[in-house]
Assembly symmetry: C2
Homo-oligomer: 170 residues x 2
Amino acid sequence: MAISRTFDQNQGRISGVDELDAEIIRLLQTDARQSNRELARALGVAPSTCLERVRALTRRGVIRGYHAEIDHAALNRSVQAMVSVQVRPLSRAVIESFKDSVSRLPQVLSVFVLAGGDDFLLHVAVQDLDHLHGFLLDQLSQRREIAGFRTSVIFQRVQNSVISRLPDPA
Amino acid sequence: MAISRTFDQNQGRISGVDELDAEIIRLLQTDARQSNRELARALGVAPSTCLERVRALTRRGVIRGYHAEIDHAALNRSVQAMVSVQVRPLSRAVIESFKDSVSRLPQVLSVFVLAGGDDFLLHVAVQDLDHLHGFLLDQLSQRREIAGFRTSVIFQRVQNSVISRLPDPA
DNA sequence: ACTGAAAATCTACGCTC
DNA sequence: GAGCGTAGATTTTCAGT
């Protein structure tokens, strides 16, 4: 079905996401907890139609989940930072093991594996500057595989809460 | 009410988030679309209790929203990169205007305002490497206020989907 | 993709502790 | 004030078309 959808039903789009799907995706990124009924009304279709669309999107892996966004201060995380890290030797084994172990640290929100000058970028969120310092000293400085790291405190973040579909590369 | 909660009812926590709240937060980060009934059952409380807790958390701003997580490939965004940017002069006016205008670009997922060597970090997601190149040339290179930028392609990202509460700084 | 009806859920309110 | 149970309103879900 996902294959046959590629050509029909899709206002000229190559991927299996038509305009109705795109609108569902947009609305659920904005508010994942609105009822299927509200969703259907906003789209101008019957609730059963909407439900089936959402289920199909989930089945196809387009919708990967629904997550509550929580105020960081309430989680005792008022200070955020980006830490760029170089590791040595730059082998698959070292990269995998470093990635796995730092991604399990509670202070770490995200680990990015990068191409270029730095090998990793860690997005961390901690209680305060003291704990940031402590994290760097206790969790990073001691690792033998780290050749160097550089920390930038984050003053502010602007996030695009709704990610739109970009035009096809063609 | 939020103030009186500070001392009673909070197993020694300073913030107004007790253990039940913390568990609600954890469960809603994992799956924001589960029914209030499921939530209540997982917590071992009545649905009406659970509903009131969730509403209170929302009212207090602890829960900021609910968002669907969408597969980037389905949005035509197979290539991600981090772009660190320096701007000059480093004035409030330049920072604010740069931040506002780049955060509106559809390719930009997040803008971080940083302390330290770099002034901004842009998290971008585009169709392919050609479009990344195009974005850099068309949207960044032309800006007068940019003193320099450096791009790192993201090979991989590991994200902590549930952010836990850290111990109080005290 | 819609309609309709049964099952499940939501949620306001009065109650107890 | 926090949590609970109930009941009426709403929503979900799935035939059948």
